[in-house]
Amino acid sequence: MALTRRSFLSGVALGGSACAASIAAKAEVREEKTLPPKALGLLFDSTLCVGCKACVVACREANNTHPEFNTEDKLWDTPLDLDADTLTVIKAYRDGTGVTKDQEKDGYAFVKKSCLHCIDPSCVSVCPVKAMTKNAETGIVSYNPSNCIGCRYCVAACPFGVPRFEYDKTFARLRKCELCKPRLAKGKIPACAEVCPTGATLFGPVTVLRAEAGRRHKLVPGERAFFPRKTADSTDVHEKPAPHYVAETYGLTEVGGTQMQLLAGVAFEKLGMPALPKKSFVSTSETIQRTLYKGMMAPAALFACLLFLVHRSANHAEHKDEHEEEE
């Protein structure tokens, strides 16, 4: 019995100190992610959007997706939300009489939904098999079906509900906006920005888009202002009285910032854009994993002391067996 207790106590002491040492040795905080050097993105200005949905149609053509019918006559392409067959969609906010555009009370406003290309994307962090990747230069978040096992962790984890899976296909895959990567390779700009008649959707380097958003925030509501189409530095501009913007630009800080920026005349939460903290959720999970699994020290220490304890107890059992046989 004395042997048992001693081996138990020494084992506990050994195991406890090993584990405590490796875990308490300071949390391995994951560094904050920053904007890639040549980050590309979109600027969506809700006050310029007229809800024509030209972007939705152009996106279908560019990504080979199909119209979705949600009315009884099945004559309208009426996507209700993002879907494996709809990589961008225009949604509308409406309150009361819904008369005045970009007004929260008794007004309405449009918003474009598509991938925001996060600076610290949840989908990329959680994907077990590198099917979701973020380009180190452009920051475009893409999907590689040949890696994907279809676990749908990305669908579950995206704070914006962007990645969408096909549930009705034998050989299913994920679909999401990849900022028209193939078009960019040919020197074109994303289809949605290309066709937008009012410049509500602009394409360009994120730094340029952020500067443009800053310029618009400084405009005096009601005064003459100019708005470019397609890209922020385009010469194709139109004139319009400056609207009243809500104070913040969406996408500057949300979960560490996104490469798509949004401006609007009504609160973003009304437009279905969730209020999110500055710190990304995956930076917390990655910090926990790094702390527990740094160099596999803690698991190795745990294994070593368990090995020791099992060995001790096996010896003990053997002695006991011999003892019993003698009896």
């Binding site: 959680v126 669908v155 704070p159 509900g161 299913a172 527990l292 698991p299 368990l306 304890l309």
Partner: protein
């Protein structure tokens, strides 16, 4: 011999019913593979994870923690008197994990790429899931190897009658298994510690999509503790049921003694959970009356009842109370895991409730476990022989 086959009929009402359930599941799984997940499940883009993952894998693997929980007591705490519980617990664990793995293969949409989770070139090391997937794969293999001695014992006995090379081979296998047993057992305790806690970490990226009563940085500790609670719970449930169903000597005394480890794990779970809620100032969420809060309270009640029930020594030793306590612990643990992975998760505007066919597949999985367990304990030496169990009981007195 420590253990021996139970013998008896293979065709009974239970086994036939289980076989029918398994056949229905087989048919539904075939449809799922031909026509896609949506043909059998109610999964959608707001709830991409449903019953198969939450119950069959996340709760199922914890139900499969009996082997882990008992091994910790027998080997890490060096309490040899619980040894008769090890082999049946390992068998149940092997089923829990193997079926969890199978249900994941049915659940993932692009199953033909499943091998990527064991192929290092594909590993994304920031993903908690790759750690869980790898760890569970290795642990399932370890469980099979841990159970292998029961099969080999039978093979040695069988080839012994015939002699020759086959007998030599089986005895060699037996020796090798005995030699590596220590490493297997130690790995068998390390791996569940890793992946059961990681099952909690896996939810942290969900942020506010998971209800604040469940979303917390201490999720890994809570998941590890529920795995332990449920591990002891399932061993108690299994032992009380087996002695009842198969008219065997009751192991109530040894279970009564084992239950203090279960109670310790339950108390630790409740202490961490409530002090975390208090520390994070989340208690006010409890005063809003809606379904989720009832689920939360039910989880806690199911964990509190067994503590009260088993606290006095005379009740702790009684099979009836052991059975009730074990049922509470298991239901509480299953509910906690279903809540965390399915019920307390949600995107505004989306709904999910498992379809009838989805439920039938899960029932089929449970039927596989029941069927497999009954057939295996009748054929292989799993359960402790009656004399041996008596000795073990005497040894504890």
């Amino acid at each position: 011999m420590r253990t021996k086959p139970l013998g008896g009929p293979y065709v009974t009402r239970t086994t036939v019913l289980a076989a029918i359930m398994v056949a229905i599941m087989g048919f539904l799984v075939l449809i799922r593979f031909c026509l896609g997940l949506g043909s059998v499940t109610n999964l959608n883009n707001g709830f991409p994870w449903g019953l198969w993952l939450a119950y069959d894998m996340v709760a199922g693997s914890a139900i499969g923690c009996g082997g882990y929980a008992v091994a910790l007591v027998v080997y890490a705490l060096n309490k040899g008197q619980y040894h008769p519980l090890v082999r049946p617990a390992v068998l149940a664990s092997m089923f829990g994990y193997a079926l969890g793995g199978v249900s994941v293969l049915i659940d993932i949409s692009r199953w033909w790429n499943a091998w990527h989770i064991v192929w290092p070139a594909y590993f994304n090391l920031t993903s908690v899931m790759i750690e869980v997937a790898l760890c569970v794969s290795v642990y399932t293999t370890i469980l099979i190897l841990e159970f292998a001695p029961a099969v080999v014992e039978k093979a040695v006995e069988w080839t012994g009658h015939r002699g020759g090379n086959l007998h030599a081979l089986t005895t060699t296998v037996q020796k090798v298994l005995n030699r590596v047993a220590v490493v297997l057992i130690a790995l068998g305790m390390t791996l569940p510690t890793m992946h059961q806690s990681s099952l909690g970490t896996m939810l942290i990226p969900f942020g506010p999509l998971l209800n604040p009563l469940w979303q917390t940085p201490v999720l890994p500790a809570l998941f590890l503790l529920t795995a332990l609670c449920m591990g002891y719970g399932v061993v108690m449930l299994e032992a009380t049921l087996v002695s009842d169903r198969f008219a065997r000597v009751s192991e109530s005394r040894i279970l009564g003694l084992l239950s203090r480890y279960m109670m310790a794990a339950v108390i630790a779970f409740l202490a961490i959970r409530w002090s975390d809620l208090l520390y994070q100032g989340k208690l006010h969420y409890l005063f809003a009356l809606h379904g989720l809060n009832f689920a939360f309270l039910a989880e806690n009640a199911l964990y509190l009842i067994p503590i009260i029930l088993l606290w006095p020594m005379h009740r702790r030793m009684a099979p009836r109370y052991q059975f009730i306590a074990a049922m509470c612990i298991l239901s509480g643990g299953i509910l906690y895991r279903l809540d965390a992975y399915m019920i307390a998760y949600g995107r505004p505007g989306w709904h999910y409730f498992p379809s009838a066919t989805e439920l039938l597949v899960t029932f089929g999985m449970i039927a596989v476990e029941v069927l497999g367990y009954v057939l295996l304990v009748r054929f292989f030496p799993v359960l402790p022989s009656i004399e041996r169990a008596r000795t073990a009981v005497l040894a504890t007195e």
